[in-house]
C-alpha cells in the first residue's frame, strides 16, 4: 500500500495517504510500524495491558496522546449511587488507578466529559482528519467519519501502543463504497449501513478499509457519517472513513481540543490535501442508490441478516449451501421467527436507544420527534441512554429528556449500557428488543435475548406501538 518509495506519480486514495504519513519503519518480511496519533483506552480491554507494562517496568510513552474513560461496565443509573456489581466496580477502580499511575488523562464516572469512547473523541475535538486513531474496541472505525484511519485493536496491541505509540500493521486493501442519490423521508444513515452489510455480508470487507463516498455521503451530517463508519467492522472491514470536507471542519471548529488560531489555518490546509485523487484506484467497489433504500431492520443473529422493513424474512429452504442454510435456520430458531413474512407487527418487549452507533444528539432528536406528544406502549420498556455526559446535558437543555419521560421512556446516564449488557442493563431470556446498537449476536443484549437492529426513528416508532413498525406511517 505504501508509495513512500514508489513512483511519486501514482494517484493515491485517502486511505493510502493517511497510511503513508504514519509509516515509522518498513522492513522486509515484517509488518509496517505505524505511528498512532490518538489512543483511546477504556476499562474492559486494558487491564491486562497495564499489567504487562508493570511486569516489564515500562512507562506509557505518550500519555499526552492517550485518553481514558469508563463506558462499558459502568451503570447507567444515578452516578451518586454505589456500583452494585462489585466485579465491575473493581474493574473501574483498577482502571482509574492505571490511568493515575501512568499519567493518562481520565474522564471518570463523575466527569462531565465521560461517555462512550467513540462519542467523546469527536465531541472533544480530539478526533481530527488525517490521524491514526486506535482503541481496544472494534467500533473505533467511528472516528473514520473525520477522514482518520481508525482501527480496533486487541489487548496485546493496546500494550504495544501504550509502550511505544506504535502499532505493527499489515497494509489493507481499499474498498470504495459509493452511495449516490437522495434518501427518502424516514430513511437515514443507519439504513444505509445496514443495507450495505446485508449486501456484502459480515465478512465482505475482510482485509479492507472502506472509503464511503458519493453524493449521499457528502450530504450527511458528521453525526450521520459516524453512524455509518461505526459499523464498518460489521461488514468485516478493518476501518472505514469519509474524506473530510467543509461539514467536517465546521463540526471540529471551536471544540476543546481542536487547533486554534494560526494552527487551525495550517490544519485545514493540510486536511484539504487528504482527499482521494481523481484517478486513484481501489481494490474493490460497490455502488448503492440511496433513493431506492427503505428503513432497514435485522431479523437474525448477525448484522448481515438485514432486510427492508416491508420485506419478508428469508426462507432457509431456498438456500443451497448446507452450512449457510443451517446458519439461517439456527438464527431463526434462536430468534423464534417464522420465515416468509415481514417483521412488521412482531411484538417488542424492550426498545433501546443508545450505543456508539446512535446515541448522539441528532439520534435523540430523531427519537424525540416521534415520541413527542405520544406515549410508549405499556408492554414495552424503553431505555434512552445518551452517549456522553455532554450529549445528556445538550438533550436536557433542549428539553428532550422531558419528552422521553412524558412518553414513559427511561432517561439514563451515559454509557454503553444494553448495547453489550455488561452493566446490568439487559434483556431477559426470550425478550425481543428493537435496538439502535450495532450487534444482534446471540445473547449480545443479555443471555437468551433477541435483538432487531434498526434506526432511532424505527426504534421510537416501535416503542409507541409495541410492535415492529414502519416509521413512515407515523411521520
Amino acid at each position: 500500500m505504501s508509495t513512500k518509495n514508489g513512483p511519486a506519480s501514482k494517484p493515491r486514495t485517502i486511505i493510502e495517504k493517511v497510511w503513508d504519513n504514519h509509516v515509522v519503519t518498513e522492513r522486509e518480511g515484517a509488518p509496517t510500524l505505524l505511528y498512532i496519533d490518538l489512543h483511546l483506552v477504556h476499562e474492559v480491554t486494558s487491564p491486562q495491558a497495564f499489567s504487562g507494562l508493570r511486569e516489564r517496568g515500562l512507562k506509557v510513552r505518550r500519555p499526552d496522546l492517550t485518553l481514558g474513560t469508563t463506558d462499558h461496565s459502568i451503570p447507567t443509573y444515578d452516578r451518586n449511587l454505589p456500583i452494585m456489581d462489585k466485579v465491575a466496580e473493581a474493574q473501574i477502580v483498577q482502571f482509574e488507578k492505571n490511568c493515575r499511575d501512568f499519567g493518562i488523562p481520565f474522564f471518570g464516572p463523575h466527569s462531565d466529559k465521560q461517555g462512550i469512547v467513540h462519542i467523546i473523541g469527536p465531541e472533544q475535538g480530539l478526533t481530527q482528519p488525517g490521524m491514526t486513531v486506535v482503541c481496544g474496541d472494534s467500533h473505533t472505525a467511528t472516528h473514520g467519519a473525520f477522514g482518520a484511519l481508525a482501527f480496533g485493536i486487541g489487548t496485546s496491541q493496546v500494550e504495544h501502543v501504550l509502550a511505544t505509540q506504535c502499532l505493527l500493521q499489515m497494509p489493507s486493501k481499499t474498498y470504495e463504497v459509493r452511495v449516490d442519490g437522495t434518501l427518502k423521508q424516514g430513511v437515514g444513515a443507519k439504513d444505509i449501513i445496514l443495507n450495505l452489510i446485508s449486501r456484502i455480508g459480515i465478512s465482505g470487507g475482510t482485509g479492507c478499509v472502506f472509503e464511503y463516498a458519493g453524493s449521499a455521503i457528502r450530504s450527511l451530517s458528521m453525526e450521520e457519517r459516524m453512524t455509518i463508519c461505526n459499523m464498518s467492522i460489521e461488514g468485516g472491514a478493518r476501518a472505514g472513513l469519509v474524506a473530510p470536507d467543509d461539514t467536517t471542519y465546521q463540526y471540529i471548529a471551536g471544540r476543546p481540543y481542536a487547533p486554534k488560531g494560526a494552527d487551525w489555518d495550517r490544519a485545514i490546509a493540510s486536511w484539504r490535501k487528504l482527499a482521494t485523487e481523481p484517478d486513484a484506484s481501489y481494490d474493490k467497489r460497490i455502488d448503492i442508490d440511496a433513493s431506492l433504500l427503505e428503513p432497514m431492520i435485522t431479523f437474525g443473529t448477525n448484522p448481515g441478516m438485514g432486510i427492508p422493513i416491508t420485506a419478508p424474512v428469508p426462507d432457509p429452504t431456498s438456500i443451497s449451501d448446507p452450512l449457510e442454510r443451517d446458519s439461517l435456520g439456527k438464527a431463526l430458531r434462536y430468534m423464534d421467527l417464522p420465515s416468509g413474512k415481514p417483521l412488521l407487527g412482531h411484538k417488542v418487549n424492550v426498545v433501546f436507544i443508545g450505543s456508539c452507533t446512535n446515541s448522539r444528539i441528532s439520534d435523540l432528536r430523531a427519537a424525540a420527534q416521534i415520541l413527542k406528544g405520544r406515549k410508549v406502549s405499556p408492554n414495552v420498556r424503553v431505555m434512552v441512554v445518551p452517549g456522553s455526559q455532554q450529549v445528556k446535558q445538550q438533550a436536557q437543555a433542549e428539553g428532550l429528556d422531558r419528552i422521553f419521560r412524558e412518553a414513559g421512556a427511561d432517561w439514563r446516564e451515559a454509557g454503553c449500557s444494553m448495547c453489550i449488557a455488561m452493566n446490568g442493563d439487559q434483556l431477559a431470556p426470550g425478550e425481543y428488543s428493537v435496538s439502535t446498537s450495532n450487534r444482534n449476536f446471540e445473547g449480545r443484549q443479555g443471555k437468551g435475548g433477541r435483538t432487531f437492529l434498526a434506526s432511532p426513528l424505527t426504534a421510537a416508532a416501535s416503542a409507541v406501538t409495541g410492535v415492529v413498525t414502519d416509521v413512515r406511517t407515523m411521520l
Binding site: 473493581a90 474493574q91 486487541g154 452450512l323 446458519s327 446471540e442
Partner: protein, 202 residues
C-alpha cells in the same frame, strides 16, 4: 510467547459459520482484570444450561472435545468484538489451532499473538475434515507450522497460508513488543520530524 512446535491432535468440530466473539466468550465475563479462568467460560452460553450445568451434547463437554487441541469451525470465525479474551479462553481450554475457511481480521491478529494458530483451508478441505471426524471422532491431524502443512486423517496434505512475520514470531517465540521497542530510535526520529495537533494533557 512459547515456541510453536509440530503436533498431532484430535479435532473438536463446531461446523457453524460466523461464530462471533460474543459466543466464544460472552461480554459479562469481560469484567475480569486478569486472564485467568476464561477457559471455563469458553462458549459459555452454548456449553451450559440456565443453571450452569454442562450440556452433555455440546462438543466441548464431550470426551472427544476435551481430548482435542484443534477446533474446526465454519466460515468467518471470530467476527465481532476485538476482545482478546477470545483467544485467551480458547488457549486456556487447551486449543492450539483453529481451522476455518476464513477468520475475521482482529481475531486472527489476536490469536497469532497468543500462540493460537488460525489455519485457513479451502471449503472442500473443510468439508473433508468434517466428514472424516464425523465418521471417526478420534481422527487426527498433524500441524507443521514450519512447513505450513496440515496432514489430514487420510494422510493427504494441505498447505496453509500464514503471514511470514507472525510465523517467525510463533516459531522462535519472538516477543512483538520487544521487537517494537528495539526500533526506539526510528520512533523518536519520527516524532521529532512531525508536528502533532493533539495534546490530551493540555
Amino acid at each position: 510467547m512459547d515456541n510453536f512446535t509440530t503436533f498431532t491432535s484430535r479435532l473438536a468440530p463446531l461446523p457453524i459459520d460466523n461464530i462471533d466473539t460474543d459466543q466464544i466468550i460472552p461480554a459479562r465475563f469481560l469484567k475480569t482484570i486478569s486472564k485467568v479462568g476464561l477457559g471455563d467460560q469458553l462458549f459459555y452460553d452454548w456449553r451450559y444450561d440456565a443453571e450452569g450445568k454442562p450440556l452433555p451434547d455440546f462438543i466441548l463437554n464431550r470426551t472427544e472435545g476435551r481430548a482435542a487441541q484443534v477446533l474446526i469451525a465454519g466460515d468467518n470465525f471470530g467476527c465481532g468484538s476485538s476482545r482478546e479474551h477470545a483467544p485467551w479462553a480458547l488457549t486456556q481450554y487447551g486449543f492450539r489451532a483453529v481451522i476455518s475457511t476464513s477468520f475475521a481480521d482482529i481475531f486472527r491478529g489476536n490469536a497469532l499473538k497468543n500462540s493460537l494458530l488460525p489455519i485457513i483451508v479451502p471449503p472442500e478441505a473443510l468439508k473433508k475434515l468434517l466428514a472424516a471426524v464425523t465418521e471417526n471422532p478420534s481422527a487426527t491431524v498433524t500441524i507443521d507450522l514450519a512447513n505450513q502443512t496440515l496432514t489430514l486423517p487420510d494422510g493427504s496434505r494441505a498447505q496453509f497460508p500464514i503471514d511470514q512475520f507472525a510465523k517467525h514470531c510463533m516459531l522462535e517465540g519472538v516477543d512483538e513488543l520487544g521487537y517494537i521497542l528495539k526500533q526506539e530510535p526510528a520512533i523518536a526520529q519520527y516524532e521529532a520530524e512531525r508536528e502533532l495537533t493533539v495534546n490530551t494533557l493540555a
